[in-house]
């Protein structure tokens, strides 16, 4: 992990690595969170989340159960909209537009901010091909050539093309769990989103399938900004560039404790609770 980190830093700063720690120059911002809080029926689930998600980096949200990681993630593409009693306050700004108050429709937002869920959830009644292009079809794209192209390129990006290209018409439920999850990633990528939200995408998978998804995330960075919720600290350390640490407060509401580069969070955090957590002393 340290190696990857150094590499990224070298790239951005374009100076030879020295032992002197210089603050990293921040890249362009994809999403800005300002005092984001989510409550259900007046009960706060997570609050005080202020941090910037940088373009083309992997940002991980870590913290013990109940710290509001998933709740926060789901606010980023307005998945709480249909939950009765859910309220999101503060500002979430995607490329200059407030996603809750700006003139961005919720469907448009969701095509720009894709999501991969904890359990693989391909549409069981659709074939592999139909799953891959389902997002495009939902958004009114019918042209066969365009769909074919998108299916192939998204399945290739999800490292699935080689194993499924000969059986695209087969029901998606015939795939293994790991393949199903990669299909869900392909399905999200087909819409060419700017941000990909991933909610513990490997928690239902075996270690080999997990590794493949992790490799995938790293390779996807160049084309999409990734925000990932993970329970697995090694995973956060391995794959993420930035890291937000959340913890449940006294009143059982989650709050942001610390946000920084993953290297800083794991090696030299400001808050002692962050250190305790990353060292596995609790949680």
């Amino acid at each position: 992990m340290e190696e990857t980190e150094t590499e990224t830093m070298t790239e951005i700063q374009a100076v030879p690595t020295t032992q002197v720690v210089t603050p990293r120059v921040r890249g362009p911002i994809e999403m800005q969170l300002k005092n984001v809080a989510v409550s259900f029926h007046g009960r706060t689930a997570v609050r005080d989340c202020t941090f910037d998600v940088e373009k083309n980096r992997v940002t991980s949200l870590i913290g013990p159960s109940g710290s509001g990681k998933t709740t926060l993630l789901r606010a980023l593409n307005r998945l709480h909209d249909l939950t009765p009693g859910a309220k999101v306050s503060g500002q979430i700004i995607l490329e200059g537009t407030d996603i809750y108050r700006g003139n961005l429709t919720v469907t448009e937002l969701r095509t720009r901010v894709g999501m991969v869920f904890q359990r693989p959830n391909p549409f069981p009644t659709m074939s592999i091909y139909d799953n891959a292009v389902s997002g495009l079809r939902f958004n009114g794209i019918k042209k066969k050539s365009l769909l074919d192209e998108a299916a192939e390129s998204s399945l290739r990006s999800a490292a699935l093309w080689d194993s499924v290209s000969s059986r695209l018409k087969v029901a998606a439920s015939n795939l293994s769990g790991g393949e199903q999850q990669r299909l869900c990633i392909a399905r999200a990528l087909a819409l060419e989103p700017e941000v990909l939200l991933m909610d513990e995408p490997t928690s239902a998978l075996d270690p080999v399938a997990t590794l493949r998804i992790e490799e995938l995330m790293t390779s996807l960075k160049s084309r999409v900004t990734v925000v990932i919720v993970t329970h697995n600290m090694q995973q956060a350390a391995r794959i993420s560039d930035d890291c937000a640490f959340l913890l449940m407060g006294e009143d059982r509401a989650g709050e942001l404790i610390e946000f920084d580069t993953t290297e800083k969070i794991f090696n030299n955090p400001v808050d002692s609770r962050t250190l305790d957590y990353t060292l596995g002393r609790f949680g």
Partner: protein, 310 residues
């Protein structure tokens, strides 16, 4: 948050309490074996009691009905026996045609409405939806003669349509509606929420999620419910009794009087001719076979569909 989890030292189990636990559980186990045997025996007896009337009914149906079946039975119109030809009962083609026509029109009326209402109930939580649900549940338990009365007063009388197939279909449709609504709602509710979220997260509008994701996933349950509703409607006597007019021709016309198998059974059973009374068993056998084939098809279809998915 530095309060680390501390485990207490496990205490040594005392030998005496361990022995006591073993002794008591051994005794309890012996008692449970006896109880279990008695319960299994009781279950067997209950099964026999339940099976006897069913088997007896089927036996009588086949025993008395099978002899009635021949080509004329299915293709000829009914005749009234005379003193010269006391066994000339003719066939029941009009009743078969009538039953199929009635069921067909009833399905056309009830299925689209029922499925749409079911989806609506499953996907919304408004007060209106709750009210609708209560109405559907109440209707499901309403006596079927009520549907006949309703169709009689509303279609036959108020709308002045007369004794017609469509009036009977209307009554049957009202009878089928709650069954379709309730089974559709259950099928749609059983679609995992994760699929809805997947659709929404891909920028689909809620109505698209309903039609492209939820409905296809729920189709097995919906079709099973629809076929159960149809099999129920096929055999209903009361709703059609008052309104279809008992036509004596093979009529597919919705605005003509028609006959139906349950009605033919009802009429023939009152006949003074023994030959006509005997014919009742043949009609009943055909009706039961009809319903049996329908529900068997539904079951096979549903399990196939389920297998493909898994």
């Amino acid at each position: 948050m530095t309060d680390l989890i501390e485990l207490e030292e496990p205490t040594e189990p005392s030998t005496s309490s361990r022995e006591e636990i073993r002794r008591i559980s051994d005794n309890a186990r012996a008692r449970r074996v006896v109880t279990s045997r008695i319960m299994v025996a009781l279950c067997g007896v209950a099964l026999l009691i339940a099976a006897v009337p069913l088997v007896a009914l089927l036996y009588q149906l086949i025993d008395k009905g099978a002899g009635q079946l021949n080509l004329d039975f299915f293709t000829k119109l009914p005749q009234t026996p005379t003193l010269i030809a006391p066994n000339a009962t003719g066939g029941i083609s009009n009743a078969i045609v009538g039953t199929i026509a009635l069921t067909l029109y009833a399905s056309i009326l009830a299925i689209p409405v029922g499925v749409l209402v079911g989806v609506y109930l499953a996907e919304t939580n408004s007060k209106f939806a709750t009210t609708l649900r209560v109405i559907a549940q109440t209707m499901a338990g309403a006596p079927s003669i009520l549907m006949g009365l309703f169709a009689f007063s509303f279609i036959v009388h108020d709308l002045n349509v007369g004794f017609t197939a469509i009036a009977g279909s209307f009554a049957l449709a009202v009878l089928m509606l709650p069954v379709i609504i309730i089974s559709t709602e259950i099928a749609v509710r059983n679609v995992p929420n994760s699929l809805r979220e997947a659709g929404l997260a891909l920028g689909a509008k809620p109505h698209m999620v309903s039609t492209k994701v939820v409905l296809p996933s729920a189709v097995t349950g919906i079709v099973t419910g629809v076929i159960l509703a149809i099999s129920r409607a096929v055999g209903e006597t009361a709703p059609v009794l008052l309104v279809i007019g008992g036509g004596f021709t093979n009529s597919w016309q919705p605005f003509n009087p028609v006959s139906a198998m349950p009605l033919a059974i009802f009429e023939n059973a009152k006949s003074e001719w023994p030959s006509q009374r005997a014919q009742v068993w043949g009609i009943a056998l055909v009706l039961v076979a009809f319903v049996f084939v329908l529900s068997l098809t539904a079951r096979i279809w549903a399990s196939r569909k389920q297998q493909v998915r898994n």
